[in-house]
Symmetry: C2
Subunit: 196 residues, 2 copies
DNA sequence: AAAGACAGAACGAACGTTCGATATTTTGAC
DNA sequence: GTCAAAATATCGAACGTTCGTTCTGTCTTT
C-alpha cells in the first residue's frame, strides 16, 4: 500500500471517531483496528496520537479559501451574502462533525485556536464585514449598521441552525429542500433588517 | 463535613474541569485532589465517574423554568423576545462552559440528549414560536413568517455570539456594555425583519 | 543491498473501581 | 442529657485493565 493511502485512511477514520467521542474517547487500538493496521503505525506516521488528531483538525479547518473567491466575484452584496450562507451549509453537510472540534482537546489547545481556528474565523468576519461596508457605501444598506456585529448576527442565524440540529440530534429534519427554504427565510429576515 | 457539601463541591469542580477537557480528559484522581478528598469518594457519592458527569450535565441543563415565566408576563411580544435574549446572555455568563456539553461524551449520549437537552430546547422553541404566532395574530408581525424558523434565526444571532467567542477564545471582547450594544443591535435587525 | 513500511510483543504509566480499616455523625434507650 | 451502638462518611492501599509508546524483527519496494 502506498504511504499516503494509509495516512489518508487513518485521517478519514480518525475524523469520524474523534468527532464522535473526542480525543481521549478513542484509543489508538480502536483506530488502528478500524483501519486494519498495527497500532504502531500511528506513532510511525503521525508521531503519536496527538499528531493524528492535529492532522484531523488541520484537514477540518483547511477549506476557507472558497470564501475569498466569493468575495472576488463580480456580484452585488446580497448575492455574496447568499453565497456565503450556501457555503456554510455545504460545509456542515460535508463535515457534519465540525462543531465538535471547536472545543478541541489537544494538550495545548491555545496553539490550535491561535494558529488555525482564529485566523480562519477572523478572515471570514473581515471579508463579510467588508461586503457590508460596501453595501453601506453604496447606500444599499442602513448607514447605522456596525459591520462586524451585523456579520455575527447573520452568521449566527445559519450556524445555529446546524448547532441546534447537532445538539438535539434530530430535532429538525435536514434535507436539501429544507435548506433551500431556510436560505430564503434567512435571507428574507436579514435583508429586511439591513436594507436602507 | 455535611454530605451535600462534598457533593456540591465535587460537582462545582467537576463542571469546570469536564468543560475544559471533557469526560475522558479528566481523571478522578485530579478531581478528588482538587476537592481535597479521597478518590473513592466519587464512586461512593456518585456511583462512579460517569455518575458525577451526569450530575454535572443535569445541573447545567436545569434552568429552563425561567423561560416559562417570561412567557407568562403581561408584556408585548417584542419585550418578551428581548427578555429571552437577556436570559441567554445571563445563562452563558453564569455557565461559560455550557457549549462544551452540547457534545456529550457519556457512554450512552442518546439518553442524555433525549432526556435533558432535547426537551429543554423543544420547550424553548415552542414557547418562542407561540410568542411569534401571537404577534402574527395581532397583525404586529408579518403574516408569512414561519414561527419555528423565525425563532431559530433569532436564537442563532444570540447564541452564535457566544459560540464564536468560545471558539476563538478572545476574538470578541465580553463586557456588560458590549452585551447591551449587541442586544440593541440584534433587536433592531430582528425587529425590522419580522414586523409587518 | 539499502531504505522504507509494517506487525506484534513488551513496557511502564495511568486509569476507574473495590475493599478493609478508621473516623465521624446519628440514633435510641436510659 | 448521657452514652453506647448503629449508620454513615472518609481514607488509602491494592487490583486488574487499558492506555500510548517503543523496540525488534520481517516483509516489500527501490
Amino acid at each position: 500500500m502506498d504511504k499516503n493511502d494509509l495516512r489518508n485512511k487513518l485521517v478519514l477514520i480518525a475524523t469520524r471517531l474523534f468527532a464522535e467521542r473526542g480525543l481521549n474517547g478513542v484509543s489508538i487500538r480502536e483506530l488502528s483496528k478500524a483501519a486494519g493496521v498495527s497500532i504502531s503505525m500511528i506513532s510511525y506516521h503521525f508521531g503519536g496520537k496527538e499528531g493524528l488528531y492535529s492532522s484531523v483538525l488541520q484537514e477540518q479547518f483547511s477549506d476557507f479559501d472558497y470564501i475569498e473567491e466569493i468575495n472576488k466575484a463580480d456580484t452585488e452584496e446580497l448575492a455574496k451574502i447568499e453565497a456565503y450562507i450556501r457555503w456554510i451549509i455545504v460545509r456542515y453537510r460535508n463535515k457534519p462533525y465540525l462543531l465538535r472540534f471547536y472545543t478541541s482537546e489537544l494538550t495545548n489547545p491555545t496553539q490550535f485556536f491561535s494558529l488555525i481556528v482564529q485566523p480562519a474565523i477572523e478572515k471570514i468576519i473581515q471579508i463579510l464585514a467588508q461586503i457590508i461596508e460596501e453595501g453601506i457605501a453604496k447606500n444599499k444598506f442602513r448607514k447605522d449598521l456596525n459591520p462586524v456585529d451585523t456579520v455575527l448576527a447573520m452568521a449566527g442565524m445559519v450556524n445555529y441552525y446546524f448547532l441546534s440540529t447537532l445538539a438535539t440530534q434530530e430535532l429538525i429534519n435536514h434535507s436539501p429542500e429544507r435548506d433551500e427554504v431556510l436560505i430564503r427565510h434567512y435571507m428574507d429576515i436579514f435583508t429586511k433588517g439591513i436594507l436602507s
